[in-house]
């Protein structure tokens, strides 16, 4: 298998009257952390369910770890680990038993299984709670246990569906830490969905922004932000500053504007490379600067410019029912 862990081509998933996924294509490289960012109801979970063989696409093809998710679903299942959006633990069993049953269902046995369970419980710092029933676990502990469980059979691709939803900030940070370690220590391809921009930005090498069943943009966080364009640098001078009556000029400066007497706003393409050059000019002109700050566009602004809506406003956006009821 070369290069691509996941390949998705024009998948469509229609439920009775809703089109949840509408012709999505993307590919994920091996060892990459790839994020699907979008509001609730965008079709992220449906996409994950298709990739994990739980749903059949209405049309289109998808390959995970080199296998077709429809025709070779058995092989795909062996290669993937999943943490679902909703908990999927058996809370009447102990943490150890949850791990044990999972390992058995994935064909692990005996001492290998036992030592692997302890290793993974240790990885998520749950070793001390191994004989405790899951019903006594907090939300964060459950999530950690699910991560440990999904890694037990050493999958090639790990799917995380909204891994930090409903968790407190400290627990989120801890989970991020695990994801980084999974990538670094185990070289597992991670595919995650989220509606938190900071999460996508922190964790993902590449991000797709999904809205209403379609991918509206793809790229690294920086690339996406450059879609909305420029970054702004603010320079604050000492009050008595008068030497430059107008503005600074250079070829990397797109626009310059004196907001106040002592405050200058400089629009540039990329603040990180512009700042050193700017300091050079400032030094040359011998201007005394007291404060420098710069603002980069956030993914939220990217989302607004792409969809015309705010990411967090779209929470009311209709979601798919969890179970389509027949009774």
């Amino acid at each position: 298998m070369v290069g691509e862990s996941i390949m998705v081509e024009k998948i469509v998933k229609r439920f009775r009257d809703v089109t949840a996924v509408d012709g999505v294509s993307f590919s994920v490289r091996e060892g990459e952390v790839y994020g699907l960012l979008g509001p609730n109801g965008a079709g992220k979970t449906t996409t994950i369910h298709i990739l994990t063989t739980l749903l059949r696409p209405t049309s289109g093809t998808a390959y995970v770890a080199g296998y077709d998710v429809v025709k070779e679903s058995d092989k795909v299942r062996k290669e993937i680990g999943i943490v679902f959006q909703d908990p999927s633990l058996d809370d009447q069993l102990t943490a150890y038993d949850n791990m044990y049953i999972h390992g058995k269902l994935y064909g692990l046995k005996g001492d290998v299984l036992r030592s692997k369970i302890l290793e993974m419980l240790d990885f998520v710092d749950l070793k001390d709670f191994k004989y405790k029933q899951v019903k006594y676990f907090s939300g964060g502990m459950r999530r950690r246990l699910e991560i440990a469980r999904s890694l037990l059979h050493e999958p090639h691709v790990l799917f995380l569906d909204e891994p930090t939803i409903g968790l407190d900030p400290q627990t989120r940070l801890k989970l991020w830490e695990y994801v980084r370690r999974i990538k670094k220590e185990r070289n597992i391809t991670v595919f995650l969905t989220t509606h938190y921009m900071d999460e996508a930005e922190e964790l993902c090498d590449r991000i797709s922004i999904m809205d209403k069943g379609k991918i509206v943009a793809e790229g690294s966080a920086d690339e996406l932000k450059s879609l909305v364009g420029s970054e702004v640098i603010y320079l604050k001078f000492k009050n008595e500053f008068n030497k430059v009556s107008g503005c600074l000029e250079a070829d990397f400066i797109i626009k310059c504007n004196r907001v106040k007497d002592n405050l200058m706003e400089i629009v540039v393409k990329d603040a990180t490379t512009a700042l050193p050059q700017l300091f050079e000019i400032i030094n040359r002109l011998n201007i005394e600067v007291t404060e420098v700050s710069y603002k980069r566009p956030t993914l939220n602004e990217v989302f607004i410019s792409l969809t015309g809506r705010e990411l967090r406003d779209s929470l009311e956006y209709e979601t798919l029912p969890q179970f389509i009821r027949r009774w």
Binding site: I80, I82, P87, L89, L105, I324
Partner: protein, 255 residues
């Protein structure tokens, strides 16, 4: 075999961890025995009554039926646990596992059947002490009938539960089914005493054959040949199991 054994382990472990379920499924038949059985056994004191019940006193006649009843009741709980697993997500965990789905669902049915038979055994012990006319050599064959019966109804419950998502819906269907199954299965009275047109239902009811087989093993009274009981009961259980495997194979999370 991994999927099969694993699911048996899981169902039994889960049962051990939830004692309230155990207590409830024992208490129900015992309440029946006390209020229904003891009451009617006094009514059937007159000498001709024994003829109706194949020469047995009523409580002894009822013993086999009560064991079967407790097995049926707890077998249906298996379906209930699938709906719980749907709600609490564990079903997804088993659906996405590479283990064979046939093994997983049969393991689940068999694990729950073992639990049901264990509960049946407790009722049987209870009955032994209040009737003391039970043939102890027949206990093992009786429990075997019980196991096949349990496979029948755990599978049946699974087929229904896999199609449903609400507890209420499942409970409703089961309630609707339990009464005819119990009353037209020779648990409380011989099916011979039923009107002809109802007998038809009794003849396709797996409970009839399980109870008849158990009654033969435990009290040497029966309507059919034991071999007929075994054959028909096993066939029905096999059909149910195949249906369960088929509906689990086609299960996606859309259901």
């Amino acid at each position: 075999m991994d999927g099969f054994v694993t699911m048996i382990y899981r169902q039994i472990k889960r049962f051990i961890n939830s004692r309230s379920r155990f207590v409830m499924s024992i208490v129900n038949p015992i309440i029946w025995i006390i209020f229904f059985g003891l009451g009617w056994s006094n009514v059937f004191r007159f000498p001709e009554a024994k003829v109706i019940f194949g020469g047995l006193d009523y409580l002894t006649y009822l013993a086999s039926g009560m064991v079967a009843m407790s097995i049926i009741m707890s077998s249906f709980m298996s379906g209930m646990s699938v709906i719980w697993d749907k709600r609490f997500g564990f079903l997804k965990e088993t659906l996405v596992a590479p283990a064979s789905r046939a093994e997983v669902i049969l393991g689940r049915a068999f694990g729950d059947s073992i639990i049901s038979v264990f509960q049946g055994l407790i009722i049987l012990i209870f009955m032994y002490f209040i009737t003391s006319k039970i043939n102890l050599l027949g206990v093992l064959p009786a429990l075997t009938y019980g196991l096949i019966l349990a496979m029948c109804f755990t599978s049946f419950g699974l087929v229904i539960a896999l199609k449903l998502s609400s507890m209420e819906g499942f409970q409703m269907i089961i309630n609707l089914m339990t009464m005819p199954l119990l009353f037209l299965g020779g648990i409380f009275y011989p099916i011979d005493s039923l009107p002809e047109w109802i007998k038809v239902i009794a003849y396709i009811n797996p409970v009839t054959y399980a109870v008849d087989g158990m009654r033969y093993s435990l009290t040497r009274v029966s309507k059919f040949e034991p071999i007929v009981d075994v054959f028909i009961l096993s066939s029905l259980a096999a059909i149910m199991s195949v249906l369960a495997v088929r509906s689990y194979n086609s299960t996606t999370i859309e259901d």
